[in-house]
């Protein structure tokens, strides 16, 4: 860890800066930054391009924190206290970490004011069913995870206007998915790079509107029900993620 990081924290504490930029300082643990957890006046912290594998629960001391950027770290878990941070409600960028469904604290979905959740380049196979509680979520990015299924509760995210699920292991979509309005010109829906079941693939080739109409149909509901009942094994992992930069820390540890 660079000595510069400590200096930046001290400077921020002394001069009461609202923002703290700790990009690419090779930080592996927050505890290594004395005084960091006392920066209660800070509203925005950028910890992109570091080597954090976990966050201390006491991060909740930063009561005024609104934006927390954890892009490109090695996070494997998130503290439960994250949900209790009163101002942290806008954008959460967890792109390029080692997170999966087990890393999310149980109360994660109580961040009901969350507008954008970036979790691309992680290891999620499933999403928690509580995801439907994120009623204000407008952007959900799950690009390049290991998702094998989406919960039907995803249909509850009525404000969603950007959804990225490309590069996963999805074969079907729950019929409730049709509740989402992702077809407008202002909306984004990315679904490429999934082993879609043939009927869905066929509809997708015809166009997004066809696909949405199709998954609303009773035919599809029947097929979907049968597929869920059959409990077929998920498709195998298609990407080799061992080369991910976020894995390096793990290798070093092991």
């Amino acid at each position: 860890m660079s000595a510069k990081a400590k200096k930046l924290v001290e400077e921020c504490a002394a001069e009461k800066h609202k923002t703290l930029d700790l990009v690419d300082r090779s930080i592996s643990n927050i505890i290594d930054l004395p005084g960091f957890l006392n920066l209660q006046h800070v509203t925005s912290i950028t910890l992109a391009h570091n080597k954090l594998s976990s966050l201390p629960a006491s991060i909740a001391n930063l009561v005024n924190l609104e934006v927390l950027n954890l892009f490109n770290n090695q996070l494997e878990e998130l503290p439960t206290s994250l949900s209790s941070m009163p101002c942290l409600k806008q954008v959460l960028d967890l792109t390029y970490n080692n997170l999966n469904e087990k890393s999310l604290p149980g109360n994660f979905c109580q961040l009901e004011t969350l507008r954008a959740l970036y979790m691309a380049d992680n290891d999620f196979e499933y999403l928690p069913t509580e995801i439907g509680q994120l009623q204000n979520l407008q952007i959900l990015v799950l690009r390049d995870n290991e998702l094998v299924a989406l919960p039907k509760e995803i249909g509850d995210l009525i404000r969603l206007r950007e959804l990225h699920i490309q590069g996963n292991r999805l074969t079907v979509l729950p019929p409730e998915f049709a509740n989402l309005d992702l077809m407008g010109t202002k909306n984004v829906f990315k679904y490429e790079g999934n082993p879609w079941a043939p009927p869905i693939m066929e509809q997708l080739k015809k166009g997004l509107a066809n696909m949405f109409d199709y998954i609303k149909s009773d035919t599809y509901k029947y097929l979907y029900g049968r597929r869920i009942a059959a409990d077929a094994p998920p498709p195998p992992r298609s990407h080799d993620k061992s080369k991910k930069a976020s894995r390096k820390g793990m290798k070093a540890k092991s």
Binding site: D21, T46, H49, N69, F71, T95, R115, Y118, A120, E192
Partner: protein, 385 residues
Amino acid sequence: MATLHAPQFLQPLNEQNASPLFRRRANTRERDHAQVGGGGADGPNFGSSRFSDTQANHDMQLGPDGSLAICTRCHEGFDVTEKIVNSGGDVWHPRCFVCAQCFQPFPEGVFYEFEGRKYCEHDFQVLYAPCCNKCGEFVIGRVIKAMNTSWHPSCFHCQLCDAPLADIGFVKNMGRALCRECNAKEKASGSGKYVCHKCHAIIDEGHIKLKGDVYHPYHFSCASCGTELTPDAREKNGELLCLRCHDKAGVPICGACRRPIEGRVINALGKTWHPEHFVCAKCEKPFHGSRHYERRGLAYCENHYHQLFGDLCFVCNNVIPGDVCRALNKCWCFNHFSCSACDRQLSEKTKFFVMDVKPVCKHCFEKFPSELQKRLKKASDAGLG
């Protein structure tokens, strides 16, 4: 079984010990005898009769058919010296021949019979005689049944010309009994005029309508101010209002509370509102003259309109004041447009890379793990970035 001795306690009536009433009756007896079965028999349901005395003889008394005489009321025989009252073939002791109601002898020997019971005139009338609808006295004799009530023939007159109707017949006209001539006149004068639904009289000038029926205005009061109505009253929602109250009721109604607006009126969204009730559909704060924004029939304050439908900054989530940076389907405040990885400010001229439809500065992109860089480049080359 008769006895030869008169009982001590029962003295037969004679000239010496009879009461004055009895003596008076005895004096009129001769005249009464001539009228048995006579007077007062006009009524269909009742009749009056007078009794006849049988002179006592000094042997066992026998009934008219020769059998032993038994009093109809007390079922006892008669003393040889006793008087026997005979009426219609039945016999009584004089003390038993009394009114069924007051147990007094019949004045003047006149009684009225009803369902086998005999009453004095007074009690009979009280109990059974009809009452005249006009004079309120009992009707004895001929009864006129008309207009659902009873009348003396002499009391039943045309309600307009006062001609007696008992023998010439009558016509019912709006609850009144009229002679034929008067009825014809009424019909002629009433043609083309309304008849009040309440009092059934002709409405000479000015009627009001309520639920399709016409009335004299003076039968009603204004539902709002309570004054007696005039023909210019109006019906509104099934209530009658005087003209003044009706016009007042024409004041605008608040679109929120549905009550009339007395003071300042806000016209918006095609409705009228109390100033304090014209509020933002989101925060419910009154606009109080500040600008409002309409969308789908609802009004919003500036802040909430933009929050719900307008350009909100991707970073601060507030309405964007001043210049807007538009890119990647998103908007930013001019000084909030920044790299999503390092939060360094970008300008619209700065070259940036795109990852997950958000901007990444060149500096950050170059710091990305090389395998991610490769993937992103590949995706963008394939047109999927």
